[in-house]
């Protein structure tokens, strides 16, 4: 029976604050400072879970974060490491992977058929009849391990932080603390990150003297100004020492991801105790020495009544002393450094009754403690490019070489007395700080905004540390019997041997075939034993077999912490508050939120065609081009010619990439001799700007042109409709007489009392229209002035949908909708705008050839049945077949014409007016459409535009 001990000198529990909680449906009580696992044990429970495949009862093994048997569900939080997570008041803790209960588990019947569940058994069965596999799959998927996700879980507050410390120390044991202290004393800014809830590493559950050393170091570390994060993990080391840290202890965030650009990283991750492989090694009551030491010394929990200890090192020896002090009877101590060995445990499924030792001896016990060696958790070093090398004399891996900005200390680097470890840590911290100085100097010197640096760049400090020694340790991986290697995945050494014999005999193949090391501990406990068993099967050494590469993250991170605050920028025009107040239906266009309509798009169309409408077109990309060489730039970027555009005029241009594919279009106006305003599509605003800069900076740095994006410096409003001139005349002194201000002209002046407005006569709608570009701080004012001044003219706002309908009525195409990633310029029907006689323009050679090719043609179409609007992207096929010839790219019902119209891409042979197209509707039914003579369905001569 497990129970709470009398107060222990190093215990971290606060007995004055009991915490009630529920475990497996039973009321329990723990204390502040307890982990969930220690509290459960203290309440007399030893079984935490059932294993994944065979559903065998499992108890604590390591009693820490890596315990493979101690995953629990805490309220809506699945897969909680009960060996690590601190107990909180009132939580409901449930075992996972049990059905119907922890005590009675129907799936445990799997044990009976265990001999058939050989590795890869899935692959070898359920093949015939194939139709039945989905049914098998359904059953098998109920065996999925792990807790349950409540998909209604609310998204809690998560955030992130960037930091740029000189030194990050991963691991707050004695060496890590010494490194942090020395670095801080050398003047470095230091972030010390400790996975456990307190600093000290293995000293935390050590002797009084050891804990005193730890406390002293911790006090010095804190006094030196080191930023200390406990219950936090360095999860990854990425390129250029970009270090990921998950902080689980932040006061306002559930978990916080810290991204540190560390000048140097000190890895002091310590060592992880390795389990031993033998028959019955997963029976509840088999524990590692670290587990019993934690339970006794930190949490005052008695782990059993009568123990056998199999010890091959100091940790095992110390556990004997701890157990004795806790009143556990020591039935036997078996020394792994000589010839002693553990062969098997015997007992029930739920408990050990006896331990079989080498030499035929069997000892009664309910607890077996093993201390057979260590795994070096070299994950962070792997991520830094290190390929650790196995040392058989010490039975663990050691680093073989890290970059200059990654240093290793503590147990990962070697062995020594406590003093030696601290001394090595201290030297490592000094070295890290010294190197950080050189790196900081370089960064500061290279960064233009930074403060000036004095003197020459210091040399990178040389490594003059006295290396730590290596204490011999016997190679103890597997006994003479077979047992579990991967507890999470329920993979035994026998499985590994047979998989290797089958041909899966490289580490990677073996891993994939058996799933060993693929579970939640990601090989922290299992990797070395897996490699050792494979080496044994292949008759090779561990070094020859090699090891797998540990991938990030070092410890799992919640998706919430990785996401952090979810920043999804959104942008709005100055008129946005008005749109919201006036019932506009919002639509997302890239990052912009725009009005799709104000309730009645067809009515909005009619109002534009009969009165006057206004639309907020602020997202239209706008670039100011300044300089004498602007025409050269325009000639290069557009397919048409820009040599003779007068001041006060605007022109449409088509822009292609070098492969001749249409990339953008828009209108550019000449405001003065050397100043032009270019407009782009809304989605192209950013890319056209970068495109122009690219050509200017790399191909023509001698051209005198400055490009400045002014998209949101102006609020853009299109005023469209037969009454638009009347409306504008009420708000501006600019001469609007058609002779003075004709179609495709631009004027600047005052509108509604606002200076420096730009107005040009163009429009997408086909009506007389003025596009206003108003300084954005006054945009809402002008919008409201338009509505007020035009009330008697019937002025009303219209949205994107009305504009879409009107542009189809006019046969205007939209880049990216009516064109696609392969549409070359001639398809658009704008051949007159492709000036092959220009000396050069982007895409010229490709377009020269394209003019000769049979490319698809963009045409306007009417549906034969006026009421059918085929969805955009409906396919055009050869009659009577499924052969695709083209597609409807745009379609709407035209309220102006009272019929269904659209644009389509068709092959040249179907492009002439009157051609009948067979269109397949979503339902599969077919209808027909007829190609029109003009692109514009409405007012093909453009008379309404030019009035």
């Amino acid at each position: 029976m497990t129970e709470r001990l009398q107060p222990q000198s190093g215990e971290v529990i606060d007995r004055s604050t009991p915490l009630p909680f529920v475990w497996n449906g039973k009321e329990c009580t723990g204390y502040v400072g307890d982990t969930i696992a220690s509290a459960i044990m203290a309440n007399g429970h030893r079984i935490f879970a059932r294993s994944m495949k065979y559903h065998r009862p499992r108890g604590l093994l390591t009693a820490d974060f890596w315990d493979p048997n101690a995953f629990v569900q805490v309220d809506d939080d699945p897969n909680v490491r009960s060996g690590h997570r601190l107990l909180e008041v009132g939580v409901t803790v449930s075992p996972q992977n049990v059905w119907p209960s922890l005590d009675v588990d129907v799936k445990a019947a799997n044990q009976l058929v265990g001999r058939f569940l050989s590795p890869g058994f899935y692959y070898k069965t359920f093949i015939h009849p194939q139709k039945l596999w989905p049914a098998y799959e359904k059953v098998l998927s109920t065996f999925a391990p792990g807790g349950e996700v409540d998909i209604e879980t609310p998204l809690a507050y998560h955030d992130k932080r960037y930091t740029h410390p000189d030194v990050v120390v991963a691991g707050g044991g004695p060496a890590g603390m010494a490194a942090a202290l020395a670095a801080a004393e050398a003047g470095a800014s230091v972030l010390l990150v400790e996975h456990e809830h307190g600093l000290g590493g293995h000293l935390r559950w050590g002797s009084d003297e050891e804990r005193a050393v730890a406390a002293d170091l911790e006090a010095k570390v804190r006094a030196a100004g080191v930023e200390v994060l406990t219950d936090s993990t360095v999860t990854g080391r990425y390129e250029d020492n970009w270090v990921g840290i998950v902080q689980r202890s932040h006061p306002i965030a559930v978990e916080r991801l810290i991204k540190a650009r560390a000048k140097t990283l000190v890895v002091a991750a310590g060592l992880i105790e390795r389990p031993y492989v033998f028959a019955g090694n997963d029976r509840p009551g088999v524990m590692l020495s670290g587990a019993v030491r934690r339970l006794i010394n930190l949490y005052a929990v008695k782990p059993g009544e009568r123990a056998v200890v199999f010890s091959a090192n100091d940790s095992g020896d110390a556990s004997v002393a701890d157990l004795e002090r806790a009143g556990v009877e020591i039935a036997a101590v078996v020394d792994g450094r000589t010839t002693g060995n553990v062969i098997a445990t015997h007992g029930s499924q739920k408990a050990i009754k006896s331990v079989e030792l080498s030499g035929g001896r069997t000892v009664e016990a309910d607890l077996l403690v093993t201390a057979v060696g260590w795994t070096a958790p070299t994950s962070l070093l792997n991520m830094a490019g290190d390929r650790p090398v196995y040392d058989p004399a010490v039975a663990r891996f050691f680093p073989s070489g890290t970059p200059d900005n990654v240093l290793v200390t503590g147990g990962l680097a070697g062995d020594g007395t406590l003093d030696q470890l601290i001394e090595h840590g201290s030297a490592t911290g000094s070295l890290a700080a010294g190197r950080a100085v050189a790196i900081a100097h370089r960064l500061q010197a290279a960064t233009v905004r930074a403060a000036a640096v004095e003197g020459a760049e210091p040399d990178l400090a040389a490594d003059v540390r006295t290396p730590l020694g290596r204490d011999p340790h016997p190679e103890l991986f597997r006994s003479t019997t077979h047992g579990i290697v991967d507890y999470s995945e329920d993979v035994g050494s026998k499985d590994l041997v047979s998989a290797a014999k089958e041909g899966y005999d490289s580490v990677e193949l073996l891993k994939r075939y058996t799933t060993a090391t693929m579970g939640p501990a990601q090989g922290k406990l299992e990797t070395v034993n897996t490699v050792a068993v494979l080496a044994e099967a292949r008759g090779e050494t561990i070094a020859e077999v090699g090891t797998t590469i540990w991938r990030p993250p070092y410890a799992p991170i919640t998706l919430g912490a990785l996401a952090g605050r979810i920043f999804e920028p959104e942008r709005v025009s100055s008129i946005h508050p008005w749109h919201v107040a006036n019932g506009a239906k919002p639509i997302l266009a890239g990052q912009w939120i725009r009005p799709e309509h104000y309730g009645d798009p067809a009515g909005e169309v009619t109002n534009v065609r009969t009165n006057v409408g206004i639309i907020d077109v602020t997202p239209l990309g706008k670039l100011v081009l300044d300089g004498p060489d602007v025409p050269k730039l325009l000639n290069l970027l557009y397919t048409n010619s820009w040599n003779k555009l007068d001041v006060g005029s605007v022109r449409y241009g088509l822009m292609c990439a070098e492969d001749g594919v249409v990339m953008d279009d828009g209108v550019t106006g000449r405001l003065s001799e050397n100043r032009w305003l270019m407009t782009t599509t809304s989605s192209g605003a950013g890319s056209v700007w970068e495109w122009a800069e690219n050509w200017l900076q790399t191909a023509h740095p001698d051209w005198e042109v400055f490009v400045t994006p002014v998209t949101t410096a102006y609020t853009s409003i299109n005023v469209a409709g037969p009454k638009s001139r009347e409306l504008m005349s009420r708000l501006t002194d600019i001469d609007l007489d058609p002779d003075a201000f004709g179609y495709m002209k631009v004027r600047t002046g005052e509108i509604a009392g606002v200076d420096d407005c730009i107005m040009w006569r163009i429009g997408f709608t086909g009506e007389l229209s003025y596009e206003l570009h108003v300084p954005a701080g006054y945009g809402l004012h002008v919008w409201e002035a338009l509505l007020e001044a035009g009330a008697d003219l019937g002025v009303a706002p219209f949205g994107l949908e009305a504009q879409r309908i009107m542009r189809i009525e006019k046969g205007h195409f939209i880049v990216g909708q009516d064109t696609d990633g392969l549409t070359k310029a001639p398809t658009t029907g704008l051949q007159p705008l492709i000036k092959l006689d220009k000396d050069d323009f982007v895409g010229k050679p490709e377009l020269t050839w394209a003019m000769e090719q049979d490319l698809p043609v963009l045409v306007s179409v009417k549906m034969t049945d006026k009421t059918i609007v085929p969805p955009e992207a409906s396919q055009i096929v050869r009659p009577g077949t499924n052969e695709i010839l083209g597609r409807i790219t745009s379609s709407r019902y035209s309220p102006t014409l009272g019929e269904s119209i659209g644009l389509a891409q068709v092959p040249p042979e179907l492009a002439s007016a009157g051609s009948e197209l067979t269109v397949v509707l979503t339902s599969g039914e077919r209808t027909t459409a007829v190609v029109q003579e003009h692109h514009a369905h409405f007012d093909p001569e453009g008379a309404r535009l030019r009035v």
Binding site: N241, A384, P403, N405, L443, A445, A657, D659, F841, P845
Partner: protein
Amino acid sequence: MLLVPCPHCGPRNQSDLRLVGATVPRPDPNATTPEEWGDYLYLRDNPADWIEETWYCRAGCRRYFTLTRHQGTNEFRNPPMPGDKVGTATYTTISVGSSGSQPGANIEPHTTGGAS
């Protein structure tokens, strides 16, 4: 998060820049053949080795410039951080900005490919 040595701003996070692509000379548009032009549009050297490429410092100085990067290790010549790459003596060979060279002095004009 790779640190990219912008010659104007200094080392910046990769997310602040955009890799435009390998630097390829543009054929004379009035004398090129479809094969040559196809090569210009599509064919890039793709070595696991040093490569000349164009970067655009999108969030910083908004300049295009050429850098030399190793496509196997992502190391830049002019490494911004010493000793990051294992097994290559990167630290002592070249220095950035500290030897009196003006930021931007190592930019060469070049032509870019057709990617947009």
